[in-house]
Amino acid sequence: MKGPTYSSVNRDVLAPLFTPSAAYMGALSLALAALAWGGYCWAIQLIHGLGVAGYRPPVFWGVYITTFVFWVGIGHAGTLISAVLFLTRSRWRTGIYRAAEAMTIFAVMTAALFPAIHVGRAWYAYFLFPYPNQRQLWVNFKSPLMWDVFAVSTYFTVSTVFFFIGLIPDMAAVRDSTRGYTQKLYAAMCLGWRGTDRQWRHYMAAYGFFAALATPLVLSVHSVVSWDFAMAQTPGWHSTIFPPYFVAGAIFSGCAMVITLMLPLTKVFKLEDYIHVWHFEHLAKLCLFTGGILTYAYATEYFIAWYSDNMYEWGTFVDRVVGNYWWVFATMVFCNCIAPLAWYFKKVRTNYLWLFVISVLINVGMWFERYNIIASSLAHSFDPAGWVYYVPTYIEWGIMLGSFGWFFTWFLLFAKIMPSVAIAEVKEMMRPPLKSDEEVAAK
């Protein structure tokens, strides 16, 4: 039989586990260094107050919220690939969904840090949860931030459980290929999975339900995040287009992030047999599609701002192009609307280098999109007396860098201790060995 066999899947996927190479350790060092720097910056901020960041009232939100939205957005591609493509039975999902799902969880974990980093009194961040207290106070469920708390925590919980369910059979496979303590550990982690008919029956049903629940959830989460802005009055934020626009943007950036992460992973862990250029091509096409939606949304925003004859709205949109933040706008348009167009050419979208470069550009562009929405709107609001130019400080950049360190630390650890390709599902996609085949072949 040509190509991978069941046993080669196990062998190839499990091979990278547990034995770190120098390159891996180098990458982990970098991630940890970034994390340490971010932690240091946050400590400075906790001691001295948010003033160490570059906020310039009335710009009260900046890099932190931008990065929060960025990471939540990144998360969406994982759920999209694991849940939506599961429901639509897309074959190209299997090779990549595990890593994409891991990315989702780590991205949401990263995003979840930011509300705490962002608030002025992080030591009171627990006020945001409705818990019984002697003060007899509850929270404001009318606040979009409260929706955020619920949406993000639900999203994190559901994604994690979904991820865990997917991992159970694979961790059983790890268990069966190791010994000693490692085996015991994985035996515990897979909950004693045996792969019996009854287990698979309930497993597949539950998996299907999870996929079905995660799909509206993923749409709701970025809609809720977009309502953080759309529910406000601020010109440039107050728009009904935001939910679909944000969801499309999230999938766009998430798919790009999957490409950015999976390309090196595939190369380094030698998983080309399971993750082909064909997978990346599909991701690129998805990016092209969502990028098209995004470009359309940008245009619609401008059209509506002009057509509404609302001087505040239009003023903000004009300012985005010609004002202090023109470079942000230009970066955003180039990276999100123009650069991906290159993927219309098959040669570009099947070339690993170009795939990587453009996916990184999209990530940059999507970060700037959020920055553009947040900073430029607040810096050019209703009252011209409050028009300012907000520039982040090294503390903010440091914390953002730290968030990448945090994310990559988790991701690298994941790659070492968990199978990055879903073994069982890859096997499911393969033609099973049949006696009859062999007999035919023998003749």
Binding site: S7, S143, T157, I165, Y203, W227, P433
Partner: protein, 192 residues
């Protein structure tokens, strides 16, 4: 399925395990066992196979769905009740001119609660129905190949009188290895 020490231990022998390399042989084995009236079997596969499920459960859906449904209903009710009651607990607050219990903003929380609890119940149902966490199968029928590239059938609670019949059915269906059933010697024909 999980281990259960046979109650009538005296009457039974050790579980029988058959290892397959080919799916069609596995299916034949299951079918033949079923035909022979042996239904207390476990089929081990490294990945889900619909053939196996259809053969054994004949299209009957998994009861996990009920967990999901109840979870969703519970989540929706709880989330809305919680938001409404907590908001009404301090009646003088009118943030932004909105009434205490205003439906549109609460729908969001209700929705999230629905998804959350539906998921949690589903997960709970999965664990319950699969009897997880578990220690796995009895040592003698455990086989690491079942998570790799082989399929297996384990017949538990085998009466001493049936052991040889089962083994024979399994061996004839194309198992590459049949063991247990009180006989230490491995039965089975090794097919090419």
């Amino acid at each position: 399925m999980s281990v259960s020490v046979p109650v009538e231990a005296a009457a039974s022998v050790a579980p029988i395990k058959a290892v397959y390399k080919h799916l069609d042989c596995l299916v034949t084995g299951i079918h033949d066992l079923k035909q022979a009236g042996f239904r207390d079997i476990h089929v081990m596969t490294p990945f889900p196979r619909h053939e196996v499920e259809e053969l054994i459960y004949e299209g009957e859906p998994s009861p996990v769905r009920w967990f999901t449904l109840f979870g969703a209903l519970f989540g929706a009710t709880m989330a809305f009740t919680m938001t409404a009651l907590m908001s009404a607990n301090w009646p003088m607050i009118m943030p932004g001119g909105k009434p205490l219990v205003s439906i549109p903003p609460f729908i969001v929380i209700t929705f999230e609660g629905t998804i959350l609890w539906a998921s949690m119940f589903t997960f709970m149902g999965l664990l319950l129905l699969c009897r997880l966490p578990a220690r796995g199968l009895p040592k003698e029928v455990e086989d690491p190949r079942f998570s790799n590239d082989h399929f297996g059938i384990v017949v538990e609670r085998v009466g001493a009188q049936d052991a040889s019949k089962i083994k024979s059915i399994l061996a004839h269906s194309g198992a590459i290895e049949v063991s247990g059933g009180g006989d230490d010697a491995a039965h089975g024909a090794h097919h090419g």
